[in-house]
């Protein structure tokens, strides 16, 4: 059992928790993820590490309440316990030789982008941040990004805060104006990452994308997280849990990844509704 040390709402649907897991806290590097289960017989879900505090043995996670499992996790409070918490998994984000980096985060993906941005700042790189949200109310971590980015652009789809439009708008402007990044690192919805890659393509700027496919064990056993890379004219099967989660954005078959991500869409909708109904029912009882 793993204790919830702190819990805080970043928005009504995005929650930040610190979980007590000293072994994970000692090892986790930016870009890596953990797998957790809320309760016995619960689903295993991967969540990227949003930060660590080794002194307190704490691992920070940030999640959006999107399905039955995240809903159940949200019901838990500070001081309570979750069943399982394992990691760190995956390969940390590569930072070697990158002096000038652009971090492009979208939605709750910004939670994962933040420790990566902070790591580059710590290493002395020049960090440009672009973070995007659908609406002002969904904005998270602006202050934290401000303190680790040399320049930060905040976008909202509907223009309710910062600039209006997608994250690719300022990225394209920068690239057009001759900005040369050693690397663009993008973390967010698949469709956004796909367009970040397309935006960077004419400028031959390398792009790293952070993939978050369906996973069970996360340790290289089940193969459910496989994705296809197009490399040197060949199609290669790769596994996000052990080979990733970071991949060369130019190689990833995004359309396939998006399709695979919807494999259980029906099931998940029903499970979420069932869980919500269950909570409604129990609230009524007490």
């Amino acid at each position: 059992m793993y204790k919830i040390l702190t819990k805080k709402s970043l928005t009504p649907t995005v929650i930040q928790m610190e979980i007590e897991a000293p072994l994970v806290a000692n090892k986790a590097r930016p870009g890596q993820f953990i797998i957790l289960r809320v309760d016995e017989d619960g689903e295993r879900i991967p969540l990227t590490v949003a930060g660590t505090d080794q002194k307190r043995g704490a691992v920070k996670i940030i999640f959006q309440i999107v399905g039955a499992t995240t809903k159940k996790l949200d019901i838990k409070n500070e001081g309570e316990y979750i069943e399982d918490f394992a990691g760190p998994l995956g390969v940390p984000t590569h930072t070697d030789g990158i002096k000038k980096v652009c971090i492009v985060g979208g939605g709750v993906g910004c939670a994962i982008a933040l420790p990566v941005a902070e790591e580059f700042k710590r290493l002395g790189a020049e960090v440009t941040g672009i973070i995007g949200f659908r609406h002002r109310d969904l904005l998270i971590l602006e202050e934290e990004f401000s303190s680790c980015c040399d320049t930060l652009t905040v976008m909202t789809d509907d223009g309710s805060y910062g600039r209006g439009g997608n994250v690719t708008v300022p990225l394209k402007e920068m690239l057009e104006n001759g900005e040369k990044f050693d690397m663009i690192i993008t973390i967010g919805p698949l469709i956004m990452m796909k367009f970040v890659v397309e935006t960077a393509r004419p400028y031959n700027t390398p792009v790293t994308v952070s993939m978050n496919p369906i996973m069970i064990d996360g340790t290289g056993m089940c193969g459910g997280c496989r994705l296809t890379l197009n490399r040197d004219g060949k199609r290669i099967t790769s596994f996000a849990c052990v080979d990733g989660p970071d991949f060369n954005g130019y190689e990833v078959d995004f359309d396939e990844a998006m399709s695979r991500g919807r494999m259980y869409a029906d099931f998940e909708r029903h499970a979420y509704e069932d869980t919500c109904n269950l909570f409604k029912k129990s609230e009524g009882e007490f």
Binding site: D84, G87, D217, G224, F239, S259, Y264
Partner: protein, 469 residues
């Protein structure tokens, strides 16, 4: 008294009944049946069966106890050689091991050794109230990586010798393939739990959610005070055929499909973890894992299940009893066939059709057996222009695994072979001092009992090494 030429049959749930539930198929011998079967053992002098057993259980010895109505004595006798008799009695391929060498088998059916082993272990589990005696500690600490059959065997043997053993398990439940891979209807999880509880009462500590190679490294284990390490991390990433369509929705590896059903309990009503069920299913491969996947699909409600295997029934590597059970349950074997492509649904008029990207059919080619390969197995070769399609909704690829890279990548000086398997000598010692390995992490996908044999050998070698240190 004349010897009965056939084995006493194993009572089972009827095929019609069991195809729709996850309860154990084989129900086990009654006391009377066990006695009758035990009486078929000739107690021959040269005991060829013992050499056929990877852990060298004294088979005629334990059968003799059954003949004398001392079942607990039989259990204790088996326990000298095996830490998991209730498991082995159920999942060992006896027909290619102990029973293959049975003297009685020359003329008649061999003695049902597996069935007797299972009877003894189940009888003990039901009737015995003794907890095993905790040996005096010798103060030496050994770490075991992985709680599958090799790790549990190694841990059990060392604990019995007085070592302070900690088992590290990456998943949330101990048991390895015994819990994530082998289904409930073939190996009830309560039995695995019981065997693990026995080890715990011997003093073995089990730490779940620790991924060696990530959470901790092998070198750190030595820094923590462990004097030897056994790596039993098991098989790794599933193999795929590299044919078009393997990324469609509805294509699983057997590892994923079985893990969802067994470990994550997707077979229950309203599970937290989803699984595709019902419809028409094609399982590709002919091993025990393929049989497990096919029979699990059936129990999850599939209307039709095919096993697609590129060789013939004679070469099918699965345990004979599983093949027979699968056939009885109505699983259709499409032998001498090999998939060439998986076809997906695509609505050209509606890119948002929710069925888009799901499996629709599998295209196969007929095969014939050609010249024997280096292993002596006849190589299957495609028959020209013999392609055909089967309409299906789910494909389960069950064509083996490749070793997991996590430990290899984080352990300096650990030698692996070209396939990624850890290189060991005859004692199970790796290229790294005091680091031993066994099971699928060394051999690639193999059987529970061969992994146990390797765990046993390594435990012996670790004991020698630490005693002489």
């Amino acid at each position: 008294m004349a010897i009965k030429p056939e084995k006493n049959p194993m009572p089972t749930q009827s095929p019609e009944e069991r195809a729709h539930n996850f309860d154990e198929v084989a129900l086990g011998y009654t006391y009377k049946m066990a006695k009758a079967e035990a009486s078929r053992c000739l107690n021959c002098k040269n005991k060829p069966c013992v050499n056929g057993c990877p852990v060298n259980i004294d088979i005629p010895g334990f059968i003799d106890y059954i003949k004398n109505d001392d079942i607990e004595g039989a259990y204790k006798h088996i326990s000298k050689s095996s830490s998991l008799p209730a498991v082995c009695g159920r999942v060992c391929p006896q027909e290619s091991q102990c029973e293959k060498h049975c003297t009685l088998g020359i003329k008649f059916e061999p003695v049902g050794i597996g069935r007797l082993e299972r009877f003894v272990a189940d009888y003990h589990n039901e009737n015995s109230t003794d907890t095993p005696e905790r040996p005096t500690s010798n103060g030496k600490r050994v770490a075991v990586i992985g709680s599958g059959p090799s790790g549990l065997t190694c841990a059990g043997d060392l604990a019995k010798k007085g070592y302070d053993v900690t088992v590290y398990e990456a998943l949330h439940t101990a048991g390895g393939v015994l819990v994530y891979g082998i289904p409930e209807f073939r190996l009830p999880k309560s039995i695995v739990k019981k065997e693990i509880d026995t080890l715990k009462s011997l003093g073995v500590k089990i730490e779940t959610n620790v991924i060696i190679g990530k959470t901790l490294t092998v070198d750190e284990l030595f820094d923590m005070g462990f004097e030897a390490v056994f790596i039993g991390s098991g098989a790794g990433l599933p193999n795929f055929m590299n044919i078009p369509g393997e990324s469609l929705k509805g294509v699983y590896s057997a590892n994923e499909f079985l893990t969802r059903s067994n470990l994550m309990k997707s077979y229950r009503t309203n599970p937290d973890t989803p699984i595709m069920k019902g419809g028409r299913v094609a399982v590709v491969g002919g091993g025990n894992v393929a049989m497990d996947a096919a029979r699990t699909s059936l129990r999850l409600g599939a209307e039709k299940v095919y096993i697609i295997y590129r060789r013939s029934m004679d070469e099918l590597p699965a345990r004979r009893e599983e093949v027979e059970h699968a056939e009885e349950e109505g699983i259709e074997f499409r032998l001498l066939c090999n998939p060439v492509e998986i076809l997906g649904y695509k609505n050209e008029n509606d890119p948002k059709d929710p069925k888009n990207g799901f499996v629709k059919a599998i295209k196969c080619i007929k095969m014939e057996l050609g010249e024997p390969d280096e292993k002596g197995r006849r190589r299957p070769v495609p028959v020209e222009n013999s392609e055909f399609s089967l309409d299906i909704d789910t494909v389960i690829m069950s064509i083996g695994t490749s070793p997991n890279p996590l430990i290899k990548n984080t352990t300096k000086g650990l030698e692996v072979n070209s396939r990624g398997g850890i290189v060991v000598n005859e004692d199970g010692l790796t290229s790294k001092n005091a680091v031993y390995a066994g099971g699928d992490a060394v051999t690639g996908a193999a059987t529970v009992i061969s992994a146990m044999g390797a765990g046993k050998k390594a435990a012996h070698a670790i004991d020698e090494h630490l005693r002489n240190k």
